[in-house]
C-alpha cells in the first residue's frame, strides 16, 4: 500500500523520508514540485498526482506537505485519511506539528511511523496504543532520559492491541476521576447581499476528555436525541444501542478524543446569531471606495457573542484602506489584500462598526465583485440547536467520577456575500 512518505516544507525541502518497502528515490518528489509550481497556492496542489511509475498522494497541513508514494491501486481516501491520522498523532505527541518539532523529535517520529504502518498497511493508529508503545516526550522525561539513559520506548509490552477494546490502554489509574464533555456546535452559513440566508446548517461535535480509572462503561443520553440527523461515532460507541435506544454507550479511550460528530437535521430552522450590515462601494470614476460594516447580534438566546473576528479578501485593485473601528483592532495586508478586524465582544447597546475608505489603483476599472465577509464568533454556554445532554452514568467501576458538560456555539464557515 503506502510505499514511502516524504515530508516537504514550504520552501520545498524534503526534511524527512521514511520507507516501508524498498527505497524509493526522493527524486520522485520532482513531479510533486512541478505540480506545486503549476498550482498558484498550496491548497490547489492536487491531492493525487500520477507519475509514470508511482502515484503521489499528499495532504497539506501546518504548512507541511505529507506526500505518500504508492505504486498500486489503493483507495485514495484510505491514504489521505491515514496521512491526516499521522498528522493528528504528531499533534497529539508534540503539541504542535511543525517542521521544527518534527526535526527535534526525529527519532520518536520515526519510531511512531514504524509502528503505524507495517509494509505499508496501517497497524496501530489508535493514539492510546501508540502512546503505550512509544511514550510521548515531555520535558521531565527528556531530563530523566539524559541523566539515567532510560528510553522513550515503553518497557512493558502493550496489551491494548490484543484486547477487545483496542482503543483503551489497560491499567489506567487516576487519583481524581473526571470526565468532561464539550458539546461544540458550528454554524455553516452563506448569507446573501440582502441579509437573507441562502444556506445554513449546524454541525456539532462532542469532544471528551475522560480520565477515569480502570474500565469504566459510560452511557450518555440526550433530552432531545431526535435533533441529531446524521452522526458519526468514535469506534468505541455501541452502534446497536444507539439505533435502538438513542443512547451513547461506550467504554471510552483514555484522554482526549472525539466521541461523536453530528449534523442537525435540515428541517430545523437555523438561528443565525449575528448579522452584518455592510456598505461597500467602488466608484467607477474616482480611485476611492467606501467601506462600512457593522456587526450586530440577533437570535442569541440572551447570550453574549464573543471572539468576533471579521476577515475579508479584498479585490486586487485595492491598494490601501484607511479605516477606523469603533472597537477592536484591524489590519489590512496590502500584499495579500486581506482585511482582518478583531472585534471581540459585541455590546448590543453599542454595535461595533468599521468605517473608512479604500484606495483603488488608479486607471483600472472597478472590481466586478464585492468582497465576501467571513465571520468568526463564539457563544459560550449555548448549543444553538438546542441539544441538551440528559445524563451521564458510569457502570463497571465503583468510584464516583466528577462529570462536567460544557456547551459552545461557534461560527464554522460563516460567509456573508456583499
Amino acid at each position: 500500500m503506502i510505499h514511502s512518505l516524504f515530508l516537504i516544507n514550504a520552501s520545498g525541502d524534503i526534511f524527512l523520508e521514511k520507507h516501508w518497502k524498498s527505497v524509493v528515490s526522493r527524486s520522485v518528489c520532482d513531479y510533486f514540485f512541478e505540480a506545486q509550481e503549476r498550482a498558484s497556492e498550496a491548497e490547489n496542489v492536487p491531492p493525487v498526482i500520477s507519475t509514470p511509475h508511482h502515484y503521489l498522494l499528499s495532504v497539506y497541513r501546518h504548512k507541511i506537505f505529507f506526500v505518500a508514494v504508492i505504486q498500486t491501486e489503493v483507495p485514495p481516501l484510505f491514504v489521505i485519511e491515514f496521512l491526516h491520522r499521522v498528522v493528528d498523532t504528531f499533534q497529539d505527541y508534540f503539541g504542535v506539528c511543525s517542521e521544527v518539532m518534527i526535526k527535534d523529535n526525529v527519532v520518536v517520529v520515526y519510531e511512531v511511523l514504524e509502528e503505524m504502518l507495517d509494509n505499508g498497511f496501517p497497524l496501530a493508529t489508535e493514539s492510546n496504543i501508540l502512546k503505550e508503545l512509544i511514550k510521548p516526550p515531555t520535558i521531565l522525561r527528556t531530563v530523566v532520559n539524559t541523566i539515567t539513559g532510560s528510553t522513550n520506548v515503553g518497557d512493558q509490552l502493550p496489551t491494548g492491541q490484543l484486547s477487545v477494546v483496542p482503543w483503551r490502554r489497560t491499567g489506567v489509574k487516576y487519583t481524581n476521576n473526571e470526565a468532561y464533555f464539550d458539546v461544540i456546535e458550528e454554524i455553516d452559513a452563506i448569507i446573501d447581499k440582502s441579509g437573507s440566508t441562502i444556506t445554513a446548517e449546524i454541525q456539532g461535535v462532542i469532544d471528551a476528555c475522560v480520565k477515569l480509572t480502570g474500565m469504566p462503561d459510560l452511557t450518555l443520553s440526550f433530552m432531545n436525541p431526535r435533533l441529531l440527523d446524521d452522526v458519526s461515532f468514535h469506534p468505541c460507541v455501541r452502534f446497536k444501542r444507539w439505533e435502538s435506544e438513542r443512547i451513547l454507550s461506550f467504554i471510552p479511550p483514555d484522554g482526549n478524543f472525539r466521541l461523536l460528530s453530528y449534523h442537525v437535521s435540515a428541517q430545523n430552522l437555523v438561528a443565525i446569531p449575528v448579522y452584518v450590515k455592510h456598505n461597500i462601494n467602488f466608484r467607477d470614476s474616482s480611485s476611492l471606495g467606501r467601506f462600512e460594516i457593522t456587526v450586530g447580534p440577533k437570535q442569541t438566546m440572551g447570550k453574549t457573542v464573543e471572539g468576533v473576528m471579521v476577515t475579508s479578501q479584498m479585490p486586487k485593485g485595492v491598494l490601501n484602506m484607511s479605516l477606523t473601528p469603533s472597537q477592536g483592532t484591524h489590519i489590512f495586508d496590502p500584499v495579500t489584500k486581506l482585511l482582518t478586524w478583531d472585534v471581540g465582544k459585541i455590546n448590543p447597546q453599542k454595535l461595533p462598526s468599521l468605517k473608512g475608505s479604500m484606495n483603488l489603483q488608479a486607471g483600472t476599472s472597478k472590481p466586478d465583485e464585492n468582497p465576501t465577509i467571513n465571520l468568526q464568533f463564539k457563544i459560550q454556554q449555548l448549543a444553538i440547536s438546542g441539544l441538551k445532554v440528559n445524563r451521564l452514568d458510569m457502570y463497571g467501576e465503583k468510584y464516583k467520577p466528577f462529570k462536567g458538560i460544557k456547551y459552545m456555539t461557534k461560527a464554522g464557515k460563516f460567509q456573508v456575500r456583499t
Binding site: P76, L77, K103, G149, L157, P166, I198, S232, D368, K413
Partner: protein, 1106 residues
Amino acid sequence: MAASPAYGEEKGGSSSLGEPEYGHDPASGGIFASDYKRHDDLKEMLDSNKDSLKLEAMKRIVAMIARGKNASDLFPAVVKNVACKNIEVKKLVYVYLVRYAEEQQDLALLSISTFQRGLKDPNQLIRASALRVLSSIRVPIIVPIMMLAIKEAASDMSPYVRKTAAHAIPKLYSLDSDQKDQLIEVIEKLLADKTTLVAGSVVMAFEEVCPERIDLIHKNYRKLCNLLIDVEEWGQVVIINMLTRYARTQFLSPNQNESLLEESAEKAFYGSEEEDTKDAKAEAASLAKRKPYVMDPDHRLLLRNTKPLLQSRNAAVVMAVAQLYFHLAPKAEVGVIAKALVRLLRSHSEVQYVVLQNVATMSIKRRGMFEPYLKSFYIRSTDPTQIKILKLEVLTNLANETNISTILREFQTYIRSMDKDFVAATIQAIGRCATNIGKVRDTCLNGLVQLLSNRDELVVAESVVVIKKLLQMQPAQHSEIIKHMAKLTDNIQVPMARASILWLIGEYCEHVPKIAPDVLRKMAKSFTNEEDIVKLQVINLAAKLYLTNSKQSKLLTQYVLNLAKYDQNYDIRDRARFIRQLIVPTEKSGALNKYAKKLFLAQKPAPILESSFKDRDHFQLGSLSHLLNAKAVGYQELPDWPDEAPDPSVRNVEVPEWTKCTSREKRKDKVEKPFYSDSEGESGPTESADSEPESDSEESGSSSSSGTSSSSSEEEDEEEEEGGSEEQSEDKEGEEEEEEKRKKKKEKGGPRKASPRSVGSEEEEEAEGKKVKKAAGPQGKKGHAESSSEEASASESSSSGSDSGTEAPTVVEAKRRKIPSSKAGPKEISLLDLDDFTPPPPQPVPSSSIISTSLVTDLEGLTLTDTSLAPALLSPAFGAVRTYELLHRMAGEGLSVEYCFSRRPFPGDPHMVAVQIQISNNTDAEVKSLRVSEPKLLAGMRIQEFPEIESLAPGDTASVVMGIDFCDSTQAANFQLCTHTRHFYVSIQPPVGELMAPVFMSENEFRKEQGKLTGMSEITEKLTLPEKCRSDHAIVQQVTSAANVGRVPCGADNEYRFAAKTVTSGSLVLITLEWREGAAAQLTVNSEKMVIGTMLVKDIIQALAQ
C-alpha cells in the same frame, strides 16, 4: 539543512559522548579526511558496553536515515547490536536493518538467528515483532526461512501473531512470487480465522497475492460480513472493497427489473446515446429473463452489515460503504449513502476533493440521491479552486427543471468571483445547464450574451465559446441572438470576442442575410485598426459571404482581400492570397473552386457539452483508478453482474442452525454479547480463540458454538452424501458401515440442540443399543423418533466429556494423521477421527483450544470442495424428527409421501418453515414430473415449491425440501401433488412447535423479555411429571422434541428455560418449566401470540406426560 543539536550526527571527532558537539562542518574543507573516518565515533559508541552510548549512536543514525543520508557503511557495527537487551536500541537497530538489509545481504544474514530465536519466545508480542522484522528484511536467501516462519505463525495461538503472519504474506510474495501457491494455502487457512484482529490483514494479503481466487471467499463470506463491524477501520476498507467485487460475481443485479421501467422514462429527458445502448442491453437481458427477482439473503446480509459503517469517523470506510451501495444495492436503497457523503464534505480539503469526484460520478447516474443536499454543494469564496470546480460539476449534474432557477441564481454570484478560472468554469456550467434543460436555454443565452460585455477577456472568451456551442445546436431559432451579437461588434473591444462573433456571423450568415453584409461593411472600414485574430475572421466572413451572397458582398470582399494583401502580418497576407484563389473563379484556380462552398460552409458538428465524469463509474468508485480516470497498476476490474446467479450454496458454512437464525433475524434482541458486534453466532468463537478469559457463562456458550460450528461442516457433506444413499438402502440395511455412518450422523445432530449437559456413560451405552435397533428397524415410528433424539444429545455430551480428558493427544494425533488423509479424501477423516475431538470442551487452558480450533479450520478447508459440489439439498437435521404422512401408499396408488419438519432455516426465505418431503415410488412404473400445483392457502400464507422431480424410478425414493410460510398459524397448507398422470390433494398441518425457531439468549435477557410479556401474554399451567420424566435431560428432551426451541441457561436448579421466535412474525416465545418437589411442576409460556402460547402449553404437557 543546518545542523541542530539533535541533528548533529555527522560530526567528526571521536570523543563525543552524547553531548552535542559543534565545529565540524563536512562542507568546509577536510571533507575527505572527515569522510574517511566520518562514522568512527559512531562505530566506537556502538561497540561500547554502555546502552546509553549505543542508544545515542543509534538515534543519530536513525536521524541520518530520516534525512535520507547514507549510513550503510555502519552496517557491521549496527547489526552486532541486534541482540541488545535495551528495547529502544533494539527497535532502532530493527529500523536500520529493514532500511539497509537489502543492500548488504550477506551481513544481514548475521541477524537472522536472533529473529529465529525470537519466533520461539513465549511472549506473543516478541514473537510478532520478530516475525515482522524477519519478513521485512528483503533478502531473497531467507525466503525458505520466512515461509516456514509464516506457516508456523499462521497457526500460532495468539491472534496478534497470526495477524502479523498475515502481514508478512504480501512481503514474502513481493520478494519471491514463486511462493504463491504455498502462500495461498496460508491465506486460505487464515481466512478461516474467526478473530476480528486477523480478518482485515488477511484480506489485505488476499488482495495482494491472489485477488482472482474468489473461491476462497465463499466459505468465509458470511463470517466476514458478520465480523465486519468489529474489524479495525483500515481492515474494514479492504474487506468492503473485496466484498464488493465478490458480490458482483456471485449475486444477480438487484436492479434488473426496474431498469426497464425507470430508465426508459428518464432517458426520454436526459439520456444520451451511450446510456441508451446500455439500457437497451439491460432491457434485453431483463426481457429475456422476466423472472421475478429475489435478493439472495447473503446479498442482503452484506448490505445490512455494512450500513452502520456509514457512521464511521473514518472517511475511507464511509467511502467504501458508499461505493458498495452504489454498485450493489437496489436503486431504492442507494439513497442512504448521500447523507454520509455530504457529511464528509466538512472534512479536510483533500478528503473533499476525493469525495466530490465520486459524488460527481454518482450524481450523473442517480441525480435524485443528492438533490435534497443541493445547498451543501454551494460554493464559498474560501474554497480552493479545485474544490470549487468540482462542486460546480456536481451542481450542474443536479440541475433539473425544478431547481434550475435557484442554481442559476447561485451561478450568477459565482460569475462575479475574483477567481477567473472558476468564473470560466461557471460559464461552461451554465452552458451545460442550457443544453440539458430546454426551458432555461433562452435565459441562459441571454445571461451569457450579457457576459459578453464583461471586462475580463477570459470571461468573454469563455462566454462566446459557450454561446457558439449553444447556437450551433439550433442556429435557426437564434437568429435574434446572432443579430444581437452583431450589434455588439460596435461595443466589444476584446479581440477574442470580436473574432468569435465574426465567426458566428460568417457561419450563420444565411440566417442573418441582411445583417451580415452590413457587419462586413463595418469591419472593412475598421479593418486596418483590428487585431490580427479579428482580421483573420474578417477575411473568413468575407469569404463566406462571397460564396453565399456574392451579389451584395463581392466588392466588399475584394476590398477586404486587397487590404489584407498589404497587411503587415504575413499570416494575414497568406490567408488573403489563399482565399482569393479558392473563392474567386479564375482560369487557373481549377477544380478546387467548385468545392469552395463545401469547404467553407460544411456542416460543423455541434460540440457535445457533457460532464467529464460521465461513464467514469465503470471504474470501481472510490478507487484510485476512478479518480485518475485511468487504470492504475493492480486495479481489479469490477465485474459485471452475472446473468445467472452462481450456486449460492457454496457459501453455506454449516454453522449450527441457531447461529443462522440469530444472525439473520434475531439480532436486535441480543445486544453486545460479543463486544460490539451484532453477529452473535459468528463472533462467539472470536472470543474463545482470543485466549482471553471470559466470564464463565459466555465461555461455555462460545466454546460450544465453536465446537459445533466446526463439527458441522463435516457433517453437512456427509449428510448430503448420505441423503441419496441412505434412502436407497433404507430397506436393505444391516450392513455395518451404514450403521456406523448413521451413528455419526446422529452424534453430530446432537450439537444442533446446543444444550450441553453432562450425562453418565452408562446412558451412552444404552443409547448405543437403541441406535442399533433404530438402524435396523423401519423409519418413522414415533417411539423411535423420540428415543433417538434422546440418544443424540446423550452421545453428544459424552463425546465432549471424553474429549476434555484426552484432548491434547488427540489433537496431535489428528494433526499427524491429517497429512496422509488429505490425500485419501476428507470423508475418511470425518468418519474416523473427527468425532473424537471436534467439539472442544470449554477449556480454560488457552493454548490447546486454539490449536484445536485452528486444526478444525484446517479440516474445514479440506471438506470445502466436497460441499461445494454437493447440491443444496437439506436432509433432516437429526433422527429426532417426527415424520408425518402426506399421502398413503394406498391412496396414492403406490406413491407414498411423507414429510417432516427439518428444523432448519429454509434457504431463501427466513420466514418459511422448511418441510422435508420424502417421496417413494412403490409402483412398478416410473413416475414422472412430480410437482406441486394449485396451492390453496389462507391469506398471507405462502409456499415455496420444491423443484420439479423429473422422474422417479420404481422403488426409488426422493427427498426434497419445500418452504411454507404458515403465518404463525396451525392452519393446514393445502395443495396438489401432481404426477404426469394423477393429481392428489394433500395438506400439511404443522404442529405448533414447528412454527418457531430457537433463539439463544442469556438469562438476563430472558428475564428482561419475560418481564415485557406478562399479563395476557402469559399462560401458566400446573402438571405432574411422570416417573420417567424426572431427570434433567429427559425434560429438556421432551420439550425440545415438542417444539423447536433453544435452551436458555438458568441459574436455578429446578427451572428450565427455553426461548424461540415464531418464524413468520418473529415474536418471542419463552417457556419456563419449574419443577417442584416430587412430580409437581409448573409450566409458563410467555408469548405475544396467545393462541400459539395456549397450544404450545398443551403440546408440551402432552409430551411430558407421555
